[in-house]
Amino acid sequence: MAKYSKAMLAGLYKTLYTIRVFENSCIKLYRQGLIRGYFHPYLGQEAIATGVCAALEKDDYITSTHRGHGHCIAWGGDLKKMVAELLGKETGYCSGRGGSMHIADITAGNLGANGIVGGGIPLGLGAALGASIRGERRVAVTFASDGASNNGVFAESLNMAGAWNLPYILVIENNQYAVSTPIEEVTRVSDLYKRGPGYGVESVCVDGNDVLEVYQQAKEAVTLCRRGKGPVLLEAKTYRHMGHHVNDPGAYMPEETLAYYKSKDPVKIGRKYLLEMGKATEEEARDIEKAVEHEMEEAIEFAVTSPEPSLEEFLKEV
């Protein structure tokens, strides 16, 4: 594996740790009744959003999913606006209209989480199409999971992206479940990257818990796309650390499998890289963690004290 600078590794670790802290803190807010509706935690999958987004540039595009907090954070999202949105506040990313499943940061190129499984796939395709028509060197990345790969839009979009040589990267976060349905029960070949070659699409599979492996493959995919050699299908194998959403105990997830993936915790792996490859000290790692925890506290404070959306204003809109 290539060697990475301390600064780079520190940046990756900060993102991994931020996602972890964000999810854990917001789950607490959920349990306190401050957050309502659906909340699908990204716990266990942090390395995928972190590694992929680190390989992108500011003017690229991403589309996200119902499990979208990690993508938003890795894309540089503002924690304050994110928590505020989860609390339904006026100061949130979507002025309290969207909630967890619809957080978007359009002007920054984050085209949004999505309540429809697979909904983001054609949106990402279209963003890549627009960039290609305008002759820009931008890339569009769609995050989706194994469940979405069985929806028609997956096949249709992969085909179109291939036919039109689009700068499009379809990242399948194969966490092996759609809610409680295991991927191998609803498809014959659960190595999903194997579907790419049939469409003539460059396809790779990575360990989704290893941030450097994800980063390296994403970087290559981005390079291909910028050279007009896209699209790329990138499968990242991973596993959730808990059930499908905060109220799902995940009883169907075998204990040994969960324990195995927890022993390959993406946040711990990222920390190890920082200490071993980056030669950072324990104290330097702690400093990053403290800064993240502080930022999170500020974000919660901001969100909790933010105003509710005005009902009067809303009624004028509708």
């Binding site: 509706g37 209209r97 969207g98 309540g115 469940g147 809610v179 349905t181 959306p309 509708v318």
Partner: protein, 337 residues
Amino acid sequence: MSTTQETAQARTRTIMYREALNEALREEMRRDPKVFLMGEGVAQRGGSYKVTTGLLDEFGPKRVMDTPISEASFVGAGVGAAITGMRPVVEILFVDFAMLALDQIANQAAKFKFITGGKGKVPLVLRTQGGVGSGLAAQHSQSLEALFYHIPGLKLIMPSTPYDAKGLLKSAIREDDPVIFIEHKLLYMTTGEVPEEEYSIELGKADIKRRGTDVTIIAWSHMVLRALAAAEKLAEEGIEAEVFDPRSLVPLDKEMIIDSVKKTENVVIVQEAVRRGGIASDIASIIQAEAFDYLDGPIEILAGKNTPIPFNLNLEKACVPQEEDIIEAVRRMVSGT
């Protein structure tokens, strides 16, 4: 208690709406081996709202199938199985996701009988659920019944009580035309009485959930519960509201609607779905055409705001008719102000 229930057998049990649906599926699957279920998580998980709990154990994986997230194709497969002799009951988790299967619903299921000159049958039930819950936001809260109402060739059922849910689902499964059966996420845990004995309810028969003489409140699905609560408060003021539940929107029991209107001479229609292009407007036009001379004044429609459902709870609440809205509308109408 509703009129239908009054005439039902005296021996009853109190069960939840979701249990009533489960019983209907179980009874029909026992009765007819051609009935089978498919949908996301209906087998091993027993359904996201626990409607299909225990059915995998009893009927096995050939008759209770978990599907991939492939709405267009598993609904289409339901149509294909139906036209070749099966009686599939297909579940779509949220009516919002039925949009992914619209071709199969509107162009295939709804058209098949007609384009085959009446020779083809499509005994398919598409079970789904809709409506505002609590902070589920724009893609998980819609009331989309008007889309199906609009398409000739589909039947459309929206039960409000466990009794209706069970009796109507049983009839829907025995029906030879495709039936869209829309439940409501806020109804699954509500309880009501069902007879010990087997029963079914004919599709197309309305039900009066509360008798009254001053005003007819027409409502379906979850709005029936709001209308009933409003009617109780109005009774304290001496206003007797009749709560009229069509239950079946296609076919619609026009005759019974007109009878109720002739009696009360005042009509409020309550619909959770957005106002524009809604079923309430169509029912109002039917009443105007057939009972205009009996009306005391204009028909009032209370409906959802013409907007996607917001995540914030205060805004969400403002988007659909509330009990107080119904009370106020009836007061305005009865007092003539």
